[in-house]
């Protein structure tokens, strides 16, 4: 569950006030809004990079308003993928597990499963330089899912892709959500994307979040 209760925040030019947003456990929420409306600021507040001026954030029944981002257990996929360029694809996928000091054998097995799921098994030993846009997003998504987070936050994961790749990654997102049922918040400005994915659709207009539908 992702729950924002009466959240206000200042992030640079944005002043958002009285934001309410609820995505029940296992649902796929999509937050729409124009470029520059402050969608990313809301996402960053949930992940913990932007602190709130008022209100509270509850994730899976736990109040995380003042919790360190490292403890929130959110899988985060930024728009540009932000892959670790000094590491191989395999090391990118294994990162969260290495941080958690998981046993080496279990990491190897988990990375193999993930790579298969993301369709990047053949890329494991590659450096991230020279990967295509679609491949980069697959790696970034795999990296975010590696530690089996209960929450997934996606910041315009498809907007930098060409239309064919976009369709492929869109299908991947649908498949993975069906398989894993991770509670997801996906930020986008694209209505088509939202229509395909959303269980719950929200729109950010003039600093307010409106709910548009309920599945």
């Amino acid at each position: 569950m992702i729950c924002l209760d009466d959240v206000s925040l200042n992030a640079g030019a944005f002043r958002l006030k009285g934001i309410h947003l609820l995505i029940p456990t296992g649902d796929y929420g999509v937050l729409m809004g124009k470029t520059g409306a402050g969608k990313t600021s809301i996402l960053e507040a949930i992940i913990g990079f932007t602190s709130l001026t008022a209100g509270s954030i509850t994730l899976s029944g736990r109040d995380v308003t003042r919790e360190n981002p490292a403890l929130r257990g959110i899988g985060y996929l930024p728009q540009d993928g932000a892959l670790f360029s000094t590491m191989t694809v395999e090391e990118n996928l294994a990162f969260a597990l290495r941080v958690r000091k998981v046993e080496k054998k279990r990491i190897v097995a988990r990375v193999k499963d993930l790579a298969e799921l993301m369709g990047i098994g053949h890329l494991l030993s590659r450096r991230t330089h020279g990967l295509s846009g679609g491949e980069r997003q697959r790696v970034a998504l795999g990296r975010a899912l590696a530690f089996e987070p209960s929450i997934l936050c996606l910041d315009e994961p498809l907007s930098a892709l060409d239309s064919e790749t976009r369709e492929q990654i869109l299908q991947l997102l649908v498949t993975i959500h069906k398989m894993k049922g991770v509670t997801t918040l996906h930020v986008t400005h694209d209505l088509g994307e939202a229509a395909t994915l959303a269980d719950r659709l929200f729109r950010l207009v003039d600093g307010k979040v409106e709910m548009l539908n309920t599945a």
């Binding site: 981002p69 930024p78 330089h129």
Partner: protein, 305 residues
């Protein structure tokens, strides 16, 4: 079509206008290139003059000697300087002090550059500007200010083993070269995507782990650039050294001091010979820095979306 547009064929004077534009463009580029090449020629001329001077001197000596080739090799000003124990000492001290000062520079530049690049705090711009002071301050003033600083406690207590001593050489070099290293490191961290660090934190890292595992490895070419720049800066340091560490032969004499001391005793050949050694070293350093920045530019360019 308006009579003013002039872009349509058939309008009177079109051809003339086209050729006039072509000519004007050529003149513009040619004149800018000529102005630029004048400066290039000056740099090239200075370096060439040093080489020619040493060559001329060597040739003159060799002609007067009975063994032309042997004399050309062993009596040329560079060989003579390299045999001189004073110059040998100054070369060694230069290598050691520049390396220590460069290590010290990056050791401070990494945290400082990182803080300035990543951590927002009140007065950050002011601190940033403040760090330019060693770069813009006249070198002699840096030396004098260091000297004055060591009149006061707690520095005063260490003055005996630093001022006019070898550690003073390193400190004076470091005081200036560190500012260059900080600039380079800040620029390096600015160019590294901060999102990567945020992702690492969201995956469970502490800020230090995110820095050490994600950001720092990406900064390694910038680190090499900062190190070589600081090293080269230290090698060229003279003003602060002269005042703060003195120019005592076989004690606080580094290469730039050697040039000055050789000039003072009228040994222009020796001064030019030492200069050539320094020019050669600087060119090597320049090549390393260029290579490093090209590498990092290539790496950035290969990231496609």
């Amino acid at each position: 079509m308006s009579e003013w547009s002039g872009s349509k064929r058939g309008i009177e004077g079109y051809e003339t206008r086209a050729s006039r534009i072509t000519l004007a463009n050529r003149v513009f580029i040619a004149s800018f290139m000529m102005i630029g090449s004048t400066y290039l020629l000056l740099i090239f001329g200075m370096l060439l003059a040093d080489v020619l001077y040493v060559f001329e001197q060597s040739l003159g000596k060799a002609r007067n000697s009975s063994h032309f080739w042997a004399s050309l090799i062993s009596d040329n000003p560079i060989a003579v300087s390299l045999r001189d124990p004073k110059i040998q000492y100054s070369i060694w001290l230069s290598m050691i002090s520049c390396t220590l000062s460069a290590i010290g520079s990056v050791a401070f530049a990494v945290p400082l550059g990182y803080v300035l690049s990543r951590i927002p705090f009140r007065g950050r711009n002011l601190v940033d500007a403040f760090l330019d002071i060693p770069i813009v301050l006249p070198p002699l003033i840096v030396g004098l200010s260091l000297l004055i600083l060591f009149q006061f406690a707690p520095f005063k207590w260490a003055a005996r083993s630093i001022v006019y001593q070898v550690p003073g050489v390193i400190l004076a070099q470091w005081a200036v070269s560190c500012a260059y290293a900080v600039r380079t490191m800040k620029m390096t961290f600015d160019q590294i995507n901060p999102r990567c660090e945020q992702v690492a934190i969201s995956l469970g890292c502490t800020r230090f782990q995110a820095f050490a595992w994600v950001t720092f490895p990406e900064a390694k070419l910038g680190l090499l650039t900062a190190f070589t720049l600081a090293w080269a800066r230290s090698l060229g340091e003279f003003g602060p050294l002269l005042i703060f560490a003195g120019a005592t032969r076989m004690k606080t004499e580094v290469l730039s001091t050697s040039v000055f001391l050789e000039m003072n005793v009228g040994n222009i050949e020796g001064a030019v010979a030492v200069s050539l050694l320094m020019i050669f070293t600087s060119i090597v350093v320049l090549m390393i820095t260029r290579w490093a920045s090209n590498q990092s530019a290539e790496e950035k360019a290969s990231v496609k979306l």
